[in-house]
Amino acid sequence: MKIGLFRPASLKRRLLLTLLLPLGCIMLALGLSGAWLVARVVQGVSDRVLSGSLQAISETLSMQEGFLTLDLPPSALGMLENSDRDNVYYSVRYRGKLITGYPELSAQDVNLRLHDVRFSDSSFHGIPIRVATEAKLVPQLDDPVIVQVAETTKNRVSLARRMQLALAASELFLLAVIAGLVYFGVGWGLRPLVVLRKEVEARDRAEEMDFAPLPLAIVPQEAAPLVSAFNSLLGRVETSFHTLRRFTSDASHQLRAPLAVVRTHAELLGRQAEQSPEMRSTVRDIQDAVKTLQRLFVQLISLAKAERPKYEAEETVQFDLVEAAAAVARTYATKALSARMELSFETPYDNVCVLGSPFFAGEMIANLLDNAIRYGSAGGHIVVRISDRLGILEIEDDGPGIPEGDRERVFERFYRLPHHSDREGSGLGLSIVQALGRRMNATVRLETPEQGRGLRVIVQFVVPEGVIAQPVMTAIAASDEEIAP
């Protein structure tokens, strides 16, 4: 779970996150204050209407013949008429005594100043109402007359709600537009990088290594430093690539010469030391060590060559796997015989066509046979087998085998099975086999033969297209014949 959290997010996601989160907060704040403002404006407007109708009533207050009279013009309350059918209530009191109107409108203990309209929230039978109150001095009366007009708040609440909803909707719309712009904008902005990626991918697939710097012209300014850095890295890779190539050929050259000297002179010493058994064993030790050293270095060079990236387009040719395998097997048959083992070659075919390099294939088979002989023991059998035309070559032995758990690791350089430490070997053979195979797109697989002991190495070479197609073609031809008559 944590890994998911720290996974490098996509640029789009990051930009959206950094942009939309604060933007959302701002929108929320704007929305809240907007909603508050809407409520206030609606309140103000509605209150003005309410106070208008209040004053229309209070204007008509007068004393006529000792009575407080009031004319309730229809227009006064008509102002308050609306679609939501708010109920309108009023009351007129003098010295706390209800003159006319609804008794439920209780006079608040507000400090009313004369001719000043006060607003307050109250409720009427449980329904919220807005009350406007005015204290009006009427001639001939000592105390002010309190006039109240109230309306239920349905209309103003629904008006405010509608405006707030519209505000929220427009904010959400804005947010969506920004998100969309970021999404497409980033995609558009990154388009040059896609071109760049395709360029790099094309090089990756190419047969030949191309170290030419990537063109800076096609990338946006922001990515230019990245591309420059990549180009300089490319330059360094090229240098080390050439160094490696030079090393493999130089090392090959430089190490061979002194080895040849040592080998020749050790041989001479051996011939001269024939009479002295002590000297003979010493010289034999030297000779064995030189042989081991030579083998190790030949294998290292071979591995370096096999693993180095393709530079020149390598020649992939059609070659005869039977012939290539038989030639190597003949060489190793004599070695197997010297080790008192038997090597045989089984195939029903005179030739089996595969794609790759016969030289690499030969080296692969040689390394596999060398392993089989090296780790086998007297009386052992080694079989090289090509049993179909599908490019599969098997090399099977009845030696110690490789435990299931080690089958991945044996392909690692210098990895040797613990119980093999008594045998001379470098632990490079299978690494070379795999690296050579990879160069030809051939795969190498290990399994235990049916008899339950030993090792079977299965190499799958690439087969020219026609080979697989052939059986299909004959099948079609056969069915054609059936239809023909």
Binding site: A257, V262, T264, E267, R330, F359
Partner: protein, 229 residues
């Protein structure tokens, strides 16, 4: 043919003095006369004057490329057998060398026996005659007369049995493919039964019992002649 062994002169063109010393000693103990030069120009000068039986030419020389030396020798129409010695192992070099007129090729480091064997073969080839007698253990085959002896006693072999034995003897110690044996033993127009070769091998085996050599069948690959171990 019997010119005396002292006339076999071999030239070693090699700039690695230590290696040259070793090779010189080995060939001298073999009874060959050996000269050594370390520069390509010296080699060209001396080859024109001295009739060598074989030349061992290292490709990495200080003054010029060995391949160039090779080309110039052949340009001067000197036909001495040349064995190329190189620290490079690329197949391209090998093919190049043979294309430019080399007779054989050996990569460093080599087993000294192999160098000896190849130089011996080159000298023989230069004299235009294959080895007159082939021998292994107690058996010997006189190529001129076709007689086969086991410990000095003439062995009675048919023509085809002899052909099988000769082919195996020439390639002693290596696995000889069936196809190669069949080609050497039967003519094109012979109608050969599929197991004909096995029949001859079987007969030959019986006749070679107790001769100290044996024919080993390498299943799927061919036959190999070797001394009984």
């Amino acid at each position: 043919m019997i010119k005396g062994r002292c006339l076999m002169r071999v030239l070693i063109v090699e700039d690695d003095a230590a290696l040259a010393r070793g090779v010189l000693k080995v060939f001298r103990t073999d009874g060959l006369a050996v000269d050594h030069v370390s520069r390509g120009q010296d080699a060209l000068d001396i080859i024109e004057m001295e009739p060598y039986s074989a030349v061992i030419l290292d490709l990495g020389l200080p003054d010029m490329d060995g391949m160039n030396v090779l080309r110039q020798i052949r340009k001067a129409r000197i036909t001495v057998p040349i064995l190329i010695l190189t620290a490079r192992d690329a197949t391209v070099d090998r093919v190049n060398g043979l294309d430019n007129g080399a007779d054989d090729y050996l990569a460093k480091p080599f087993a000294i026996e192999e160098l000896e064997a190849r130089v011996r073969a080159l000298i023989r080839r230069g004299q235009g005659s294959p080895e007159p007698t082939l021998a292994l253990g107690q058996i010997s085959l006189d190529r001129a007369s076709g007689a086969v002896y086991v410990a000095g006693n003439l062995l009675d072999l048919t023509r085809r049995e002899r052909a099988v034995l000769e082919t195996l003897l020439v390639r002693v110690g290596t696995v000889v493919p069936k196809s190669r044996l069949t080609a050497d033993v039967f003519d094109y127009d012979d109608s050969v039964a599929p197991n004909a070769l096995e029949v001859y091998i079987g007969r030959l085996r019986r006749k070679l019992e107790n001769s100290g050599v044996e024919i080993i069948t390498v299943r799927g690959l061919g036959y190999l002649l070797r001394q009984v171990v």
